[in-house]
């Protein structure tokens, strides 16, 4: 039986971690993830889980310990934010390269400088090409659900890749809201026991992890990893279908919110997508055919499916809570436009950077974007393609 709970995003993820009951957690607290790692440490101290909690001296060590523990043959979870994520950077491709399915929550926070503790997607967007599966979450419920699914996805024998689950710092991590939790037994049954591949602790079958592979084998190793990530899409959908049976909540590669007959649409990730969907409801009441495409699975990026969902839209705003300085648009912009490439009559596209460092994104801001899109749809004139939303210039 599901139980309704009132929790912050951090509480919800900590609760999912308790239910997953991993063998090892190696984590280092950092705002806004601190509450999460503290709460889990409390579970360990109170004997609520069987986890070995490794109190490391930095995030670089946290990820190193996670990779080592995973290679040893254990189910491993961790969590971080912003600068902590950046300090893990060296180890992120090692987790994916050694195919150790570490599951990590990233509570999105802006990069310095200037110092800021609030939400930008700089961390996970920066690490999008580290070879990890990336799942984004609108709210506490999605973060909780993604965590449980992530275990199944990453550990699957056809995948064997680390997974990061992102949620917005403060906006979600520190806000109490309503969510439904599974009971412990259902989670245990859903994720199943951990199955190791080449565990280092198996002394009867000694193996080597992280050995040298040069001109003769490095490319084969990377192709194998690339194929595993691309092929994980099917498994992600399979796990989502099974999860729906259990919870009634459906997850896909992205959420298609009223796109089918839409003329204008916004592509937007995480909590701000919630605001956009509320605005769409308002616009629909006024007869404006608006929709939202909310990516959930960012790696592997579902190009074909997104192209299919967006191909008949007249004007699209692709919005990111990060900038890819000096690039031809923000990360999601370049992904989505490359998905649309080759269409004979492609939608008009514009690109916004919004909400950096926790800048509030409000109902009226989103209304403004749809207004501009409606104008573009009418006139066919795009105007300036790249903009910082609401910035004082």
């Amino acid at each position: 039986m599901p139980r309704v709970a009132a929790m912050t995003g951090n509480n919800a993820v900590a609760e999912s971690m308790r239910q997953i009951n991993p063998d090892v957690v190696a984590a280092y607290p950092i705002t806004p993830q601190t509450e999460l790692s503290e709460e889990f440490a409390e579970f360990v101290a109170n004997g609520k889980v069987d986890t070995e909690y490794v109190t490391v001296e930095s995030e670089h060590s946290a990820m190193s310990a996670c990779i080592g523990a995973s290679a040893a043959g254990s189910r491993v979870l961790t969590a971080t934010s912003s600068a902590g994520f950046a300090l893990m950077w060296e180890m992120l491709p090692i987790a994916s390269g050694t195919r150790t399915p570490v599951i990590m929550t990233v509570v999105n926070r802006a990069f310095s400088a200037p110092i800021n503790i609030h939400c930008s997607h700089d961390d996970t967007m920066g690490g999008r090409d580290a070879g990890w599966i990336q799942l984004y979450s609108e709210n506490s419920q999605e973060a909780y659900d993604n965590m449980i699914q992530a275990v199944r996805i990453g550990e699957d024998m056809s995948v064997r890749l680390p997974v990061m689950v992102a949620m917005d710092g403060f906006i979600i991590s520190h806000a109490v809201e309503r969510l439904e939790l599974l009971d412990d037994e259902s989670v245990k049954k859903f994720i199943g026991p951990y199955q190791s591949v080449n565990p280092l602790l198996d002394t009867k079958k000694p193996v080597t992890y992280g050995a040298l592979a040069l001109q003769d084998y490095y490319m084969e190793s990377k192709w194998q990893q690339s194929a595993a990530l691309l092929n994980s899409k099917a498994k992600i959908l399979e796990v989502a279908a099974e999860y729906k049976k259990l919870t009634g909540r459906s997850y896909g590669l992205f959420e298609n919110y009223k796109l089918d007959d839409a003329e204008v649409a916004i592509v937007i990730i995480n909590s701000a997508a919630g605001v956009a969907k509320m605005v769409v409801d308002e616009l629909r009441e006024k007869g404006i055919k608006a929709g939202v495409l909310q990516p959930r699975v960012y790696r592997p990026f579902p190009h074909e499916e997104i192209r299919e969902a967006l191909k008949n839209i007249k004007a699209i705003a692709i919005m990111d809570r990060t900038d890819a300085f000096g690039a031809g648009g923000t990360p999601t912009f370049t992904e989505v436009t490359s998905a649309l490439y080759g269409l004979t009559n492609p939608p008009k596209v514009i690109n916004y950077v919004y909400g950096l460092g926790g800048r509030d994104i409000r109902v009226e801001d989103i209304h403004g974007v749809y207004q501009r899109l409606t104008e573009i749809a009418k006139t066919g004139k795009t105007g300036k393609m790249f903009e910082y939303l609401g910035v004082r210039k």
Partner: protein, 191 residues
Amino acid sequence: MTDVTEIRWHARGGQGTMLAARTLARAAINQGKYAQGMPEFGPERMGAPIRAYNRVSDENFSLYCAVVNPRVVVVLDPTLIGPVDVIDGLTKDGVVIVNTAESPEKMKEKLNIENGKVFTVDATGISIKELGRPMPNTPILGALIKTVPLITLDALLDDIKHTFSEKFSPKVVEANINAIKKGYNEVKGAN
């Protein structure tokens, strides 16, 4: 559009606002409602002006942004009136609840509002009496749910009993419950 009651809290760091907003959200959720309770974190320390928000509804909603047009404003520290525009964006049928020993009429004048109702409660006085220190967050919660009946008093007290018991001694829990009841009973209003 989904009918959502939006609340904005004005206080100073250290007055327990975050706890109050989260408690209200939790109690509402436990009563089968959809609710949010979130602080607005800035660089604030003890004493700095802060804000927190609540949203409560019978239906699901996904507004992950600050409250700009509150139907309810709770002022935990009356010295903020003036330096902070506490009634900014208040809806026409809005309600303002102020922690003060002064009369609601006088407060209405001070706030300079024409539309909307003003309620006052001496939450600081109550907390000093009940808790022995100025923690106006729980008594003003009592006043809030009396004036804006989002949840019942019993629901709030149940939640306080349950969650406060995890962190505080029975004596402190009891004192907070008394403080809430007093806040509930002593709030005064002016139309």
